[in-house]
Symmetry: C2
Subunit: 412 residues, 2 copies
DNA sequence: TCAACTTTATTAATTTTTTTATTAATTAAT
DNA sequence: ATTAATTAATAAAAAAATTAATAAAGTTGA
């Protein structure tokens, strides 16, 4: 049982800026952990090459990491032509990381172990995101409940990533769009309550990171993740790292002025991409079409057209409702124009469509792709693949866990 | 005299992937050079802290670098309360780097020393950029001439950066838009001819890098450079490094589909930013206005309206020609809409307006700023300053030299 | 002006790391 | 099946780096 081990040495993750051989050894051990984290279980020889330290030295360091319960011997690797090497990997239950994905009408929570495996998760816990102190209190309570149900002692949970919509300064821990009641960073407030270091992140960026790290393990280093929900978010991964911009407000893709319409966006401006290509736009268009006499299976007996949700439309589309499919195609086309902008500017290897709306798959992807090709240079759009998220609803929680994990391990 | 020293140890810059203490020392020495390169002349104590290596060890390494003619003792630093420390800096004439900026009607060439100082430069050498073998031959000849006039022995020039417009794959050394006559990378071809390692780069990226590294030495890490010429280019600096994208085609900002007009762009598509906010657009608008009866001092007796150049319009604007100023303001406004897109997506610390058109300064900057504020979220545009290039025409050559220099020093 | 304090540089002693050599484990070939 | 070849792990020897101590060069304040 996990509770039997008390010796795990977490100090490693918080090396101060000292010097001397003790410090150097700590840094080397951290490098070992990071290398194994990225490339999987490794042999002494591999580690020795990576760290440019001699084999005996590396052996000693790995030995220490094993007594500190951070690494474990995983047996011999398949032969490479001579004596088989022992490989060493992370101890899965050495420590854990929490991820909380806060949505409009529910939250997803999950717990990830040291080996990046989700050990527990609760999807779609009912919760209403409102900009009130009560809502925040409720959220914190839900997190606390999840922790106590998880049976994992709090001291072994080293970090908690929390996704919120809106403008987040990940660095300071401030959330500006929601729960901004005092000057103290929201991350700090939550940390005090749950007793675990908390890291705030914008939902789209978190999903981007989740998808990048665990959805696609190919060689892509520059990936854009488009979060299609009521609004449109963008997570940017440059050279394998999340891009933040000056104050962490990067990725306000939904509000680029791409259209010449007269529709007022939530942000107060006209012509934003969100006015034509988002979940809000979809609902607006849906209502407009109903008013013009169209019909749809999305409107059931018990719901009136005015209280239709995004989920309703998506479900209807999946059941091949003609109007919904038609509208999704329209949305996809408008989105394609926006994606063309991104391709021209970023020349990315991959654009991932995620978020609720992406559940409709090719209904939105194919029109987007075709318009995108029309509006971007062919030399460039040939380079970029456009894919639907593989993690789906899970991307957020996984991303949140991974961010917390990286924060702790890299001590940043 | 520079020619007296033959001992400079350039091997340092090409450390292979070996191991052992010899390799480690080489790597440490390289780190020392890089640190001093970034932070200026440093003392043993500072270096020792940076490398996390003991003072005696650092002293030995610095000693070696001095005998290798790469570092020099620059005397004592001002007191910090105790014995004054010796500081060590790069030997300025240890090696040199060439930069070539190829424009439509001229080239700029320059030579930079190890300390990042321009030692020689020739601005606006007459040259016509045409996509022919003769044009390329002429270009190479101009470079050769510059080298022989510079009086610096070729072996001390360790790299040559070359800026071209159009699509460049910096990594492979291919130029796709110009001089693409054989499969062999253009960089390779030029390198063979001039006998110096050549590095190709897109002009806007090069200018961005030049401006970033030597124009603004503040703390900005995320900077966008907009190259306003006949076309519109974009150089992206993320976390202090040039952003390339998948195949090095990033920054095709001029061709984002931002307008709903019917003007066919050079790229073959409609509605590109370039159709409204570029040098081409400026000239088109100018001609349209003349046809409608406007008059301008830009049209002199000897030039007809049909052969007016960008330079003419800029000069006229500087001489307060009403029509030109009016048109520049228009261009600025359209540009502002494009910049709003960039700000929303990147949340950059700084956007620099460079290139020929930027010489008009506030005539284009102020309208751009005001429209930009209108079209981007105020929380974000407050973060971003919009400045005119400080290096002006020089940005390209300086960037080219710096890129070659970095390539060599970082061995990438 | 001079002692007390700081910081840097150098040397000597000690610890740590790398090298080299040896042994062990495994595969491929005769 | 046995031997040669290959790779890994360990042990002992040699080399290298750090630490600690000391000297040198300044500054500051009574």
């Amino acid at each position: 049982m996990a509770s039997k081990r008390k010796k795990v040495n977490f100090e490693l993750f918080s090396l101060g800026s000292s010097s001397g051989v003790a410090y150097k050894n700590k840094a080397l051990k951290k490098q070992i952990i990071q290398f194994i984290d990225n490339r999987g279980s490794s042999s002494i020889t591999e580690l020795s090459k990576e760290l440019t330290t001699s084999v005996p030295k590396t052996t000693a360091l790995v030995g220490e990491l094993i007594t500190e319960w951070l690494l474990q011997d995983e047996g011999k690797i398949d032969s490479t032509g001579g004596r088989r090497a022992s490989v060493f990997g992370l101890v899965s239950d050495a420590c854990f990381f929490l991820g909380v994905d806060v949505k409009k009408y529910h939250i997803n929570v999950g717990l990830m172990d040291f080996q990046k495996r989700m050990v527990t998760h609760k999807d779609k816990l009912p919760f209403k995101m409102e900009n009130t102190a009560e809502s925040l209190k409720k959220l914190i309570q839900l997190i606390k409940d999840f922790i106590s149900h998880s049976q994992i002692e709090r001291a072994r949970i080293l970090g908690c990533g929390i996704n919120l919509t809106g403008r987040i300064n990940q660095h300071t821990g401030h959330s500006y769009s929601f729960y901004h009641f005092k000057e103290e960073p929201l991350a700090e407030v939550i940390q005090q309550e749950i007793g675990i270091p908390a890291y705030l992140e914008n939902d789209s960026r978190s999903m981007a990171f989740g998808e990048f790290y665990s959805g696609e393990l190919s060689s892509e280093r520059n990936v854009l993740f488009v979060n299609l929900d009521y609004g449109i978010g963008l997570g940017i991964v440059v050279d394998g790292k999340i891009y933040y911009g000056r104050s962490g407000f990067s990725g306000e893709f939904g509000h680029i002025p791409l259209f010449d319409n007269e529709i007022i966006c939530h942000c107060g401006k006209k012509g934003c991409l969100e006015t034509e290509a988002s979940g809000w736009a979809l609902i607006r268009k849906f209502k407009e079409r109903l008013e013009k006499g169209s019909s749809s299976s999305a409107v059931k007996k018990n719901t009136s057209a005015s209280e239709i949700t995004l989920e309703d439309i998506i479900t209807a589309a999946k059941n091949e409702d003609t109007l919904c499919i038609e509208l999704l195609s329209e949305i996809g086309e408008q989105l394609g124009k926006g994606l063309a902008v991104l391709i021209n500017v970023f020349n990315p290897e991959l654009i991932i469509l995620g978020g609720t709306l992406s559940e409709t798959g090719d209904y939105i992807r194919l029109p987007a792709r075709s318009v995108l090709n029309k509006f971007s240079l062919s030399l460039m759009n040939n380079d970029t693949s456009l894919r639907i998220s593989r993690l789906g609803e899970r991307a957020g929680v996984i991303g949140a866990c991974l961010i917390a994990r990286l924060k702790v391990i890299n001590n940043t």
